[in-house]
């Protein structure tokens, strides 16, 4: 059953990612990305990471993508005639890169596990959410604080950038 869900979700994820890349209209791309986010949330659940799945929905799907939609609407990108966004010859490059990814994955899959590494199956128990919180605020306190600095800098940057050119603040 799990295997079937995995393959189903994988198929959806790849399809959604390809849709982002190949759909002409930006808004369709954003919607496909939304689909990808949802599928990812499913995958996280499959991996026993419920909290991550939750955040994926709230932060990504809820906040980030809404921002994208907003910008796409704001800039009225839809009204532009749909110019060919795909360059002839470039699919070759794309497939090459995709092949690299697939090849790399294949290597990981079939390469002899050095020193008898884990081949899967031996799943670590999903940690309690409480443990995550403790980790985050003890061992990983610094990165938590740093993300707040990052967000502050990003906020300042975003404000500077989106203000009209001649504006004084």
């Amino acid at each position: 059953m799990e295997t079937a869900i995995f393959w189903g979700l994988s198929f959806c994820a790849v399809a959604a990612a390809l849709a982002v890349v190949f759909l002409r209209q930006a808004v369709n791309g954003v919607m496909s990305l939304l689909a990808l986010m949802l599928v990812m949330a499913g995958l996280y659940l499959l991996l026993g990471a419920q909290l991550v799945a939750l955040f994926q929905l709230i932060v990504y799907a809820g906040a980030v993508l809404v921002l994208f939609v907003l910008v796409v609407m704001l800039l009225n990108l839809e009204r532009k005639p749909a110019r060919p966004l795909l360059y002839p010859g470039k699919p070759a490059v794309a497939s090459l890169l995709a092949l690299c990814g697939a090849g790399f994955a294949a290597i990981l899959r079939w390469a002899p596990p050095p020193g008898g590494g884990p081949m899967g199956g031996a799943v670590k128990p999903a940690p309690p959410i409480e443990q995550l919180a403790i980790d985050l605020f003890t061992e990983r306190l610094l990165i938590f604080e740093l993300t707040s600095v990052l967000l502050l800098a990003a906020a300042v940057g975003a404000i500077v950038m989106s203000r009209k050119a001649g504006d004084l603040s």
Binding site: Y87, K90, V93, L97, C100, F104, I107, A111
Partner: protein, 632 residues
Amino acid sequence: MNPDCLWLLLAPPALGFLVNGLMGRRLPASITAAVALAAVGLPLAVALGFLLEMTAAPPEARVVATSLYTWLSDGDFQVRVGLLLDPLAMVMSLVVLGIGFLIHIYSVGYMEGDVGYRRFFAYMNLFVFFMLLLVLADNLVLTFCGWEGVGLCSYLLIGFWHERKSACDAGRKAFIVNRVGDFGFILGILLTITAFQTVDYGELAEIAATAPGDASPIIALMVLLIFMGAMGKSAQFPLHVWLPDAMEGPTPVSALIHGATMVNAGVYLMCRLSPLLNRCPEVLLVIAVLGLVTALYAALAALGQRDLKRILAYSTISQIGFMFVAVGSGMYALGIFHLVTHGIFKGLLFLAAGAVIHTLGGEQDLGRMGGLFREIPAVAVAFLAGLLALAGVFPLAGFFSKDAILWGGFQRFGASFWIVSLSGALLTALYCGKLFGVFFGPRRDEGPPHRPGALLIWPPAVLALGALIAGVLGLPMFAQDTLLSRFLGFASPAVASGQGHELEVIMTVFQGMVIPAFLAASAYLFVRRRRRMEELERAFPRAAAFLADGFGLDKLNALLLATPLRGAARFSARIIDNRIIDGAVNGVGWAAMRAGRLLALLQTGELRHYALSILAGAVALLGAALYAAGIF
């Protein structure tokens, strides 16, 4: 001798540069000149003081060394900023400062009224500073420091008159060709450090004396690489191409940098490394052969020139070739001897040539010069003295040094070597004779001459005096240790000498007669039969018609002698220089520019291409890493 005073040699030129370079615009020209002169005169006085003490001291105690501070250290490896004034450095400093001082005086007159007056003296002082640094350094790295510095000054001074495109090109060419040599020099230094963990001359000499036999190949490679640097700086075949073009610079520059001092730095460096050289006879042979090839080749090329200064430039190349012959024969003192005498008479020739050019209002073409003796007798006498010295006529300076070099080459490498070097000397006499045409015969220029002022006459006159008497340093003749070589005290590789004094005396007398004869013949041809010689030159393709025309004996002589030589000269000057070597230099530059353009084409401005570069680079590195780790 107080080692703490050594810095007094270096500080004044540096100060002179700073004063003239940074504040010069606010100073009147006279102060600029005074500062520049003092910046060279003071250290000259100091150096003379050291010389007095040094000659009085016993030979073991003739080294003044001081270490200002440790420049950098890394474990056992140290580079100090240390100055070393031994007899070799003493002689070299005196050449630099003595000739330099005279040339500075000359420049005060020569550059008068030039827009770049202040700039000129600032550069000249800077040059003297770097040259002294090169000479006084007690290790390879510090020498390299001065080496690059003089290169930079040379580059700036060749291109001094930037309005002329040719001057800029010449400056660039000089720099590029020198870089090729420096490439070897740097590698040599790095190799020295890796192999011996030191760059100090004293320590290197010890290593040369004590290192086991299997170190010899490394030492040979090291010296060869450094010799590459010397070839560039001293304009040896095939890295000589920059020097004739360097004549685009003002004449005092040609005299100081491209005649008397900087171009000799390679010879000096090789003498510095003589303890190492003594260990590798193969390298000595290479140096000697290359020097000989250069000497012969450049003398031929000089014969084919029409430009006064270019003749002198080729002649410089040729004479430095002779110095390398001496070095390659293991006769380092001889090399230095020739360096000194050549410095004097070549400085003289350039200065006098400058006065001639000044008289003719900037004309440098030999074809428009003639009969100037009556106009500028003082200059002419000085010039002629320089020519006689250059050709090697007894008893002028060049005679002693060249004679000794020819004998040294004979002793070391045998008769065939001697014959080739003798022909080089004879060719020298020939092109010297050609220059007689400048002063004798009918006037060929138009317009009134601009008579040179006293400042343009006295420095060459003093140098002419030097050219007359500098041969004293090579006395007594036919002895192993002359005045100079005793002072210098080099250890030379042992030479199995079977020949006695008699042969040496015979050869000297022979040379002493045949060289003036050639000079006289050539002078005769180029003064009396000058028009014929020129016709000959023009009609060279139709040499048969010439024969049919029926000249007298002198004409036949001219034909037999001059035509093949002229052909060869033209060939070496025009074909080898312009096509092959210039072609190589330009070709590399062209290829680099093409590659640059190609790369700039890749820089399309399009984001996708940039992103592709990043991602493809990542994939390539990833593939290589996985492959190397044995995962593929």
